[in-house]
Amino acid sequence: MWRRYGDAIYTLVTFAVFGFETLALGALSISFLLGSTTGIASTPVEGVLLATLTSTASALALLGFFLLGYHFTSSLRDRWHAEQLDVWTERWIGLALEDTPADEIADSPTPRRLPRAAVDAVLSLLEVVKGEEGDRLKAVLARHGVDRLLLRHLRSGHLTARLDAIESLGKARLPQAFDALLSLLEHPKPVVRRMAVRAAAGTLATMTPEPGPEGPGGRFIQALKGASVQSGVAQESLLLLETRAGAVLRDLLAEPDLGDRLRWVVLETIGRLGLADMTEQVAAFTVHHDPELRAAAFRALHRLAAVPEGAQASLLDSLEHEVDFVRVQASHAAAFLPAELALPALEPRLGDDSWWVRRAAAASMARLGDDGVATVKRAAEIHPDQAARDMAVQILLEAGVLDPAAARLVKGVA
């Protein structure tokens, strides 16, 4: 029911109506409290009561009519907008696919200033299509001054208008808006920074790569380094870089003054995007003094399904790290070590104090071929620690090596 447009008048009327009611009912209450009522049926009280009831009824009727009218006009407006959206979508698709010559669209049927439905339609299409078709649609926005209008709205003092403009520019991915979006990463409002970094990342993904700090990638990196955005937001923006992500992430990791929080984000993103060609860069962090970064490096290696030879020693050391979440991630990554290295190091971790380490160690061993499964089976039967035996049985069950009946038998044997 709460809408972005018409909110102000809706709020005003609601407050006026309820304020009026409150005053009237307040007056009635005070008149009762002051003992002016020797009898409820006395004429002045009846008058106040009648006036209050009348005003309340009028106010409620007014509110009711307003609400009904509001919903009626809203649904009419939405239906009309949807119809217009369909009409404009067809026209823009025709233009994008060259069914309709650009001149024909630019001529009389298309107003100089595009209606909202036309802009919404072209922005929705730009979310789906790129290449030559996308470029034709972007040209439409430029021809009708939509890009300039949106850039003007980026500086609007009205937050909703500004957020709308950022969202639209994020869909349009216009290179001419890139620097304006980057400048918003210093905005005092977190919501503006969050939307701006997303829109800028999406735009960068479509821009022509240029090397060096003055190129769009370099400018994005500098803006991101200086921006106060949450780790999740930074990671989301890096994911939105699509095919440009690898180059930006590589440059970010090479930045000497990159903060640890952003480094952590970069390592996470490399893992999530599965950028296998960055395994060596990630492996360099497996000896980092910060446990968060070291764990992030192991988590990334686990996701990349690779542990370079140079990182094998640090992984084996980290299996005994004092911080449990480092041991957890190292245990997960150990699934990608040679079995003869991993198994002797993982087996003791079955008796780790941390449930998570025991689980990660058992799961990794179960992935290390027949020898690994045999080791877990043996642990399920004869490990001196009950928690280790239970975890081994659980992992064998999950891996389908044991069925529930066999698992009960193994527990019985133990």
């Binding site: 369909d86 696919l97 299409l125 789906v128 299509v129 790129k130 996308g134 994911l239 996701r303």
Partner: protein, 149 residues
């Protein structure tokens, strides 16, 4: 099932909750000569349309309200004979490898990332259909008996 085994006669089903995407894909396919395209913006109808059309290719969005692309593939799985190659081309803005892995294990055969390039979409569709029809040539009984199990 296509008896003529010509890619342009292929039956194509488009399932995407965004009407704009559906219209765009329809036009792209139509312009490239595909004449047998059905679409829906309601993923709940995907299975019924599949039964009705018996498509040679499904273009499927992953993130949809209600029944998402994974759930649609799950519902279609028992209807697709194990020896049939029914290509499902996923259209998604989600580029994370785990999403791709999950979709591939659910039955998807290829991906197109949104925003997409028209040429790329058409080439992927063409490749998948060629594979589909080669498979049908090798298993002619599937082409005549229907693919639903």
């Amino acid at each position: 099932m296509s008896e003529t085994l010509r890619p342009k006669d292929a039956r194509i089903l488009v399932v995407d909750d965004e009407r704009v995407n559906v219209v765009l894909l329809e036009r792209i396919l139509e312009q490239d000569g595909y004449t047998n395209v059905r679409s829906t913006t309601n993923s709940e109808q995907a299975v019924a349309l599949y039964d009705e059309l018996e498509p040679d290719l499904i273009l499927l969005d992953l993130h949809m309200p209600g029944l998402d692309g994974f759930a649609v593939m799950e519902r279609l799985e028992p209807r697709i004979a194990t020896d049939t190659f029914l290509p499902i081309l996923i259209l998604t803005a989600d580029i994370r490898p785990e999403v791709k892995r999950r979709a591939l294990s659910a039955g998807a055969k290829d991906f197109v990332t949104k925003p997409f390039d028209r040429t790329e979409v058409l080439l992927r569709i063409q490749n998948l259909l060629q594979t589909r029809f080669l498979h049908l040539r090798l298993n002619p009984e599937l082409a005549t008996e229907g693919q639903a199990t």
